[in-house]
């Protein structure tokens, strides 16, 4: 009553190794295991009864057989593995539509300030945004290659001056900074606020969005 269920299938004895069957087993194992399998592992499939040379030959045959498909058998440092071919990637990407990532408001506003008011220090950005600018925001933009430090302002602390890069223009399909959306309205706002000596940016009374 406590007899365990027997495995459904027992391997056929491999007295007379049949190359077709061996290829089938190799193929199944390589497809089922994602990590690369070295020959030493693959030999375990056959209780180490087959030589590495025999297996290598069969692996080459499998590689050949698969050459026309979207998946290929390759050797990497740690062994053999099946992997999708590069030309399949654009299709596979459609299956996992990574949610289109977006930059946070902090990143976009910081970038806008640098783009329109460059060169600016971090302090300038904080003053305009009215809140602190975290280092990660600047790092994100530097890592993207869109901004860079172009010098230091000659004030205590010698803060870095940031500006946008050529790469930023390229990525936004711009030939020059002048092609950024004009800020006619903004300019007048900024100028008016300068006159008021009050706030850096104040909207004129009528300018509703």
């Amino acid at each position: 009553m406590s007899a365990p269920l027997m495995p459904l299938n027992q391997p056929d004895p491999l007295d007379s190794p049949n190359p077709a069957k061996i290829r089938q087993i190799l193929e199944a194992a390589l497809l089922a295991v994602q990590d690369p399998l070295p020959i030493s592992e693959l030999r375990k499939l056959f209780n180490n009864e087959l030589s590495a040379a025999v297996l290598s030959k069969l692996l080459e045959e499998i590689r050949e057989k698969w050459s026309d498909s979207g998946v290929e058998l390759v050797t990497v440092a740690s062994g053999w593995r099946f992997q999708t071919k590069a030309d399949m990637q654009p299709y596979l990407d459609r299956l996992t539509p990574q949610k289109v990532p977006r930059y946070s408001r902090a990143v976009l506003e910081t970038l806008a300030i640098i783009a329109y008011r460059q060169p600016v220090t971090r302090g300038d950005i904080e003053e305009i945004r009215g809140v602190g600018v975290s280092s990660s925001v600047l790092r994100t933009l530097i890592a993207r290659g869109w901004i860079e430090a172009v010098g230091h302002r000659n004030v205590p602390g010698k803060p870095e001056l940031f500006a946008t890069t050529q790469h930023f223009l390229d990525d936004l399909n711009l030939r020059a900074l002048e092609e950024l959306p004009p800020l006619e309205e903004m300019k007048s706002l900024i100028e008016s606020s300068d006159k008021n000596q009050d706030l850096p940016f104040e909207e004129p009374e009528e300018s509703d969005h």
């Binding site: 497809l31 994602q34 970038l111």
Partner: protein, 267 residues
């Protein structure tokens, strides 16, 4: 064990299973006491044990011979009682149920004319059948091919593992970012003025600095002659706030006398 046999149904000394008299507990029912763990592992519980006894001895499930079943069942439970009573609680509960059913059957059954005869075994039979049904279903489930045990799911390496996609922005995004900054600046204007020029907390720090090194300071000395009205108000608020937080003490010797302020030593 014999005491169990003797105590049960001595007026009916020999049980009959399907017409065959049962003279003693079948040998295959004997489980040595030290095999209790095996026993408990072997049977899933009292229902399982009852099913085993019924099926093993080809008893008619719809007409369970209660005396027989109870007798055999108790023989098993007696074994359990020997040293691991606590493990056998569920079995003992079943023993009580079996005895209850048996006693109900022994008692005269006052039947009313409308009431259908109620067999006290019916509920037990229902439970046994339901359990057996699920037990068999479990076996069949286990015979289905099972991922990992009987087959492996294919997952080949994706060579170019998706490169993290970077956000794209549009020049309009920059424009809108500007607009957002300006809108916010307008909303925050008054708040910013207060915070930047008239911070009570900033003046609190200043008052504490003024008091430092002095035993006490005249109240009006805390106000700079050049202070604007706003500064005077904020300084006054700062002093009140400091007093409230027990950071300074305000004292006056007599009516209209000089008001003194002194810092409270933290010690």
């Amino acid at each position: 064990m014999n005491s169990v046999i003797d105590s049960v149904d001595t007026t009916h000394p020999i049980a009959k299973i399907c017409g065959e008299p049962l003279l003693e507990i079948p040998q295959d029912l004997y489980i040595p006491p030290d095999a209790l763990e095996i026993f408990l592992d072997t049977f899933q519980g009292p229902l399982d044990l009852l099913l085993y006894l019924i099926r093993k001895h080809n008893l008619e499930i719809l007409d369970i011979p209660m005396a027989e079943l109870t007798l055999q069942y108790m023989a098993y439970v007696e074994m359990m009682r020997v040293d691991q009573l606590e493990l056998a609680a569920e079995y003992l509960l079943m023993t009580a149920l079996l005895i209850e059913i048996k006693s109900c059957m022994l008692l005269p059954n006052p039947k009313t004319e409308t009431e259908q005869e109620h067999d006290p075994r019916a509920e037990l039979v229902r439970r046994l059948l339901e359990y057996e049904q699920m037990k068999k279903a479990a076996v069949r489930l286990n015979e289905l091919p099972q991922a990992e045990r009987d087959f492996s799911v294919i997952q080949v390496w994706i060579e170019q593992n998706a490169v993290a996609q970077l956000p794209n922005i549009h020049t309009d995004d920059l424009y809108h970012a500007w607009v957002a900054i300006l809108t916010r600046a307008k909303v925050n204007r008054h708040h910013q003025i207060k915070r930047e020029t008239l911070s009570v907390r900033a003046y609190m720090s200043q008052v504490l600095r003024d008091l430092r090194g002095h035993k006490q300071v005249k109240f009006y000395d805390l106000f700079s002659p050049a202070a604007t009205v706003a500064e005077v108000v904020v300084t006054f608020l700062a002093i009140l706030e400091l007093a409230k937080e027990l950071l300074l003490e305000i004292s006056q010797a007599n009516d209209s006398g000089i008001i003194y302020v002194c810092a409270i030593d933290a010690t």
